[in-house]
Amino acid sequence: MKSSRFDPVILTLGFAFLYIPIIILVIYSFNASRLVTVWGGFSLQWYSAMWSNEGLMDAAWVTARVAILSATIGTVLGTMAALSLVRYARFPGKTLFSGMIYAPLVMPEVITGLSLLLLFVALNVDRGFWTVTIAHTTFSMCYVAIVVQSRLLTFDRSLEEAAQDLGCPPVKTFFRITLPLIMPAVVAGWMLAFTLSLDDLVIASFTTGPGATTLPIKIYSQVRLGVTPEINAICTILIGLVTIGVIAASITSKRAELRRIRDEHVALRGAA
């Protein structure tokens, strides 16, 4: 499509809107003054205040464990779900199954959170670390399933077929051929699940119990009391970690892609 001369203007304005609030937040985490509007010079005092805030650090630790565990279980389940959706032409209740994969993506969090809480109460389960992890696993697996599914749909089946023709058993074919080929999508799905878990306030608020306060719950209760530079500091660290993670992942996947193209090239030339 031909571009218009307004396009750069639109993009500049759009990205300014997306980034300026975050940049301001980061800048003010280094503010020596407690007031958000007054610049009192550069200072790291809010980072040390945050570091010595035990409640905040405990919450960060709980959140990290929930996120790693739920993203990992969710990735395994989500990959299985994606395989079922793409590779299994028909099975009883497939429509219901795909409905249950797509619905959590748009379901308002208050509904998901409340309904899961009522399930845990009905099952008489003590709420805490594990109930939050189960809740996060449930929405994580749906996101992973969507990401992996789109990779499986554009997947060249000939390698799998070749392996099977040569007598490789199905499970081995999956781990030796399919999984390495869909790995970038699986990793992307894991990262998405991890950050979504790190973010979640509403579902965690419903499903958590004593001793399992996550970071968003902690941040939320402090934000309600007002803006403090300490929150800016912890937010800045989270933003930094996520940015580094996303950029590193995209560089790694680009490298892997390049290597794959080169390998294919070499293989083709070798064959010729």
Binding site: M1, K2, S3, S4, D7, P8, I10, L11, G14, F17, P21, I22, I24, L25, V36, T37, L77, M80, A81, S84, Y88, L96, F97, S98, M100, I101, Y102, V106, M107, P108, E109, I111, L114, L116, L118, V121, A122, T137, T138, M141, Q149, E160, E161, Q164, P170, V171, T173, T178, L198, D199, L201, F206, P216, I219, V227, C235, L238, V242, T243, V246
Partner: protein
């Protein structure tokens, strides 16, 4: 053996692959909805859990049917607070979705028209803020919109506001709209972009060669072809915005009525679980149509 070629996981492992995620979703996604429906039909009790169980054991099925009571729903229908919350949520979600389309469409179009080498970077730039926490992004706006916040400072500095004046946006519906548009923009831009990027550029060239003016070509060719993206983006935004809690709670004021906030207050504030469940069931009923549209769209894309 065509059968094994289409089913690489033949054997017992084959069924496990379907069964494990299926059972997980039935247990932790479908079953909770039945429970929420059940509890919405029970009475409030001062106890833990704060409701009287409707169903005690499977033998009580006869009692169950006779005991069902729609008291909570009648209450919801009679109290204007709830009806107003639903209507106001739908109105806010509708206006926000329109605003998102108005801002997101030009961005997606500009991205799709950008040089091919630039596009992955632009997509990455749209996704990056989405990776940072929702809560953090809403929090960032509090510091800007507060009466003594940065917007006031900026407007005073350029002389648009007098020294004593302050912007009165924080804790109003306007602040909620800003927060929603800001938070959901990536969800709108990405489906639009992927629809526009797939478009065949030769169609527009042909229209141009045949003398069709650019604006007309946009409405006759570009827009209709991007319709799947418009529907997907609108649904991905509209449905969760209707039940949004964090944004109206942190940026909205006392007069901002949204059903997610009402449900939250009913549950955490008044500890009325059956009523909160009834609010959730009705919200789900309101959203069934958009959810079905969304799912059909997703299945078509596949």
């Amino acid at each position: 053996m065509a059968e094994t070629a289409t089913n690489p996981n033949a054997g017992p492992a084959r069924w496990l692959v379907v069964a494990v995620p299926y059972i997980w979703l039935l247990l932790f996604f479908a079953a909770p909805f039945l429970i929420i429906l059940k509890i919405s039909l029970s009475d409030t009790a001062i106890a833990m859990p704060p409701y009287t169980p409707v169903l005690e054991g499977l033998g009580a099925l006869g009692d169950f049917v006779s005991q069902l009571d729609f008291e909570n729903y009648t209450f919801l229908m009679e109290d204007p607070l709830y009806i107003d919350s639903y209507l106001s949520s739908l109105r806010m979600a509708f206006i926000s979705t329109l605003l998102l389309l108005l801002i997101g469409y030009p961005m997606a179009l500009a991205m799709a028209r950008a040089p091919t080498g630039w596009r992955p970077t632009l997509v990455m730039m749209v996704i990056l803020p989405f990776w940072t926490s929702f809560l953090i992004r809403v929090y960032a706006w509090i510091g800007i919109l507060k009466p003594e916040g940065l917007l006031t400072v900026l407007l005073q500095a350029i002389g648009l506001l007098g020294p004593g004046e302050q912007v009165q946006i924080f804790r109003t519906d306007t602040a909620v709209f800003i927060g929603i548009v800001y938070s959901y923009l990536p969800f709108m831009v990405l489906p639009l972009y992927s629809a526009l990027e797939k478009m065949d550029a030769t169609l527009l060239e042909a229209a141009n060669d045949l003398g069709c003016p650019p604006l007309k070509a946009f409405w006759r060719i570009t827009f209709p072809l991007s319709l799947p993206g418009v529907i997907a983006g609108s649904m991905i935004c509209f449905i969760p915005i209707t039940g949004e809690f964090v944004i109206p709670d942190l940026l909205g004021g006392a007069e901002t009525l949204m059903i997610g906030k009402t449900l939250w207050t009913e549950f955490f504030g008044n500890r009325d679980w059956p009523l909160a469940s009834a609010v959730a069931v009705l919200l789900l009923l309101v959203l069934v149509i958009p959810i079905v549209i969304f799912q059909n769209q997703q299945q078509k894309v596949r």
